[in-house]
């Protein structure tokens, strides 16, 4: 409801609302659980930049103390950080044992961010490469596009062969052979500006020249598989 009277405060109005939000928080990477050493270094840091910490929320990263034999005294650490102007709001990483003892000290485990650690880089999606062939494909030539589409800007001559794991686009006449989806994929299609092919095949299903309707010859056509049958139809409707 967009319009609402300011006087209207019925019981239906909820007292709060939950929403997700993103914050930038300081992360304290803990390398050693020794409180005395932590305090020493904290004092040093604060001396360099007085007033840097004043009720600053921090997240404690436990990656560096996973193998610490004594565990971590979270209550003590909490007290220590508070004394120096930091407010621990949770922990990150660490073993299940550490996470349990942190929870007992009132520090929740924050979900791991994808950006942490060198090993947890976001997975790179490899773009599927199309192969573009800008010359005519002559008799006796064989052009193959592995793992992608093949785009031929010229004509595919009789006696030439164009092959792709993906789709095949021919912006000239197709007079030779075109084989799409040769690794068994049934989705790819063949497109050509003039169908005069010796053979067309998708995922191993093929038709030779004399099985192509003479009425379709010389026209802009597409070829695709529908329920295991090769369909040849006009590209423009």
């Amino acid at each position: 409801m967009l319009l609402q009277s300011p006087r209207f405060t019925g019981e239906d109005n909820p007292p709060f609302e939950l929403k997700g939000s993103l914050f930038t928080l300081t992360v304290l990477h803990l390398f050693h659980p020794d409180r005395a050493a932590i305090e020493r270094h904290l004092v040093e840091k604060i001396k360099q930049a007085p007033g840097f910490f004043s009720n600053t929320p921090v997240v404690i990263d436990l990656d560096g103390v996973v193998n610490s034999p004594d565990g971590v005294d979270f209550s003590g650490l909490y007290e220590l950080l508070r004394r120096h102007g930091m407010v621990p709001v949770g922990i990150r990483n660490g073993s299940p044992e550490l996470q349990t003892s942190a929870r007992q000290a009132g520090l929740p485990t924050l979900p791991e961010s994808r950006a942490t650690g060198a090993t947890r880089k976001p997975e790179r999606v490899e773009p599927v490469h199309s192969r573009i062939f800008s010359h005519p494909v002559r008799s006796g030539q064989q052009i193959y596009a592995p793992d992608g589409d093949l785009i031929v800007l010229g004509t595919v001559s009789a006696g030439a062969e164009v092959i792709a794991d993906g789709n095949i686009h021919i912006y000239g006449a197709l007079r030779g052979r075109a084989l799409a989806g040769v690794k068994g994929d049934v989705e790819p299609r063949i497109f050509c500006q003039s169908l005069e092919a010796e053979l067309v095949s998708i995922a191993g299903r093929y038709r030779i020249s004399e099985q192509i309707d003479p009425a379709d010859r010389g026209k802009a056509m597409q070829i695709h598989l529908v329920e295991d049958r090769l369909i040849i139809e006009h590209l423009t409707r």
Partner: protein, 270 residues
């Protein structure tokens, strides 16, 4: 800088040597220092067409093997100044053509010639590959007939993928189409592919159409390049072809059938 031109076709018997002889003669007639090399090692023919077969002492393979120097092997044409012929060996085979040897000979020839015409053997084996490997430009000779056109298409593919220019990523070999043994009347009747049919399939610029002509056979047997035969259609067509190659813009002749006039029908003639 010298230009290396291969005359090639894939298929045999379409007119490569006839074209090489007339093309080289035409370039030399127009004042360019020209040499024509026979790459058909073992099936030497160019010397016959050029009428210099009795003057062959050393050949291309002798030079490659260092058994003679260029000046000993080059035959100077008696009719046209600045035209030289480098004959093939009749007693060897194509394996004698090494890439290094051919390159060395071509580099030597480049010092003293402007045009180097390489007459390729038929096929797509070593001899043909060596003839086209170093080419800057190519005359692809085709007859208006499906198997010849397909073989020319194959050769165009090889030019585009296996020539030195292709291997080194340089600008591609410049391709020219020569449609030989063309008979417009038969193309009109549908017995032959038409000029348009061939151009549609091969898709390269047309340099010249050489009409089917009795003169070609006669001049071959006489050892005279047909371009030197005055009054011959084929010779005139080769003349036009050379001029077009050198940059002149000439309309194509001999591509439409001519209705014979009454007198011609009465008295025959061609």
């Amino acid at each position: 800088m010298a230009t290396v031109i291969v005359v090639t076709s894939g298929k045999g018997g379409v007119g490569k040597t006839t074209t090489s002889a007339s093309f080289a003669t035409g370039l030399a007639q127009r004042g360019y220092r020209t040499v024509v090399i026979d790459f058909d090692v073992g099936l030497r023919n160019l010397d016959l067409i050029m009428g210099c077969e009795r003057r062959v002492v050393y050949d291309f393979i002798n030079i490659i093997n260092g058994e003679a120097n260029l000046n000993q092997a080059l035959i100077r044409d008696k009719r046209v100044e600045s035209l030289y012929i480098l004959p093939a060996s009749q007693t060897r085979d194509k394996e004698a053509l090494t890439k290094e040897g051919v390159e060395r000979v071509l580099n030597d020839l480049k010092q003293s010639f402007e045009y180097i015409v390489c007459d390729s053997p038929a096929g797509i084996e070593r001899g043909a590959l060596m003839a086209l490997y170093f080419a800057d430009e190519a005359l692809v000779v085709t007859n208006p007939e499906v198997s010849s056109v397909r073989d020319s298409d194959r050769i165009l593919g090889i030019l585009a993928s296996r020539s030195r220019r292709a291997e080194q990523g340089e600008p591609p070999v410049k391709e020219h189409l020569v449609l030989a043994r063309y008979a417009p009347e038969r193309a009109d009747r549908g017995d032959m592919l038409s000029v348009e049919d061939v151009l549609e399939i091969l898709g390269i610029p047309l340099l010249g159409v050489i009409p089917e002509s009795q003169n070609v056979l006669q001049s071959s047997n006489a050892g005279v390049p047909v371009i030197l035969e005055d009054g011959s259609d084929a010779g005139a067509a080769y003349g036009d072809l050379v001029d077009r190659f050198l940059g002149k813009n000439l309309p194509h002749r001999f591509i439409t059938s001519q209705k014979k006039g009454f007198l011609k029908r009465l008295f025959g003639g061609s």
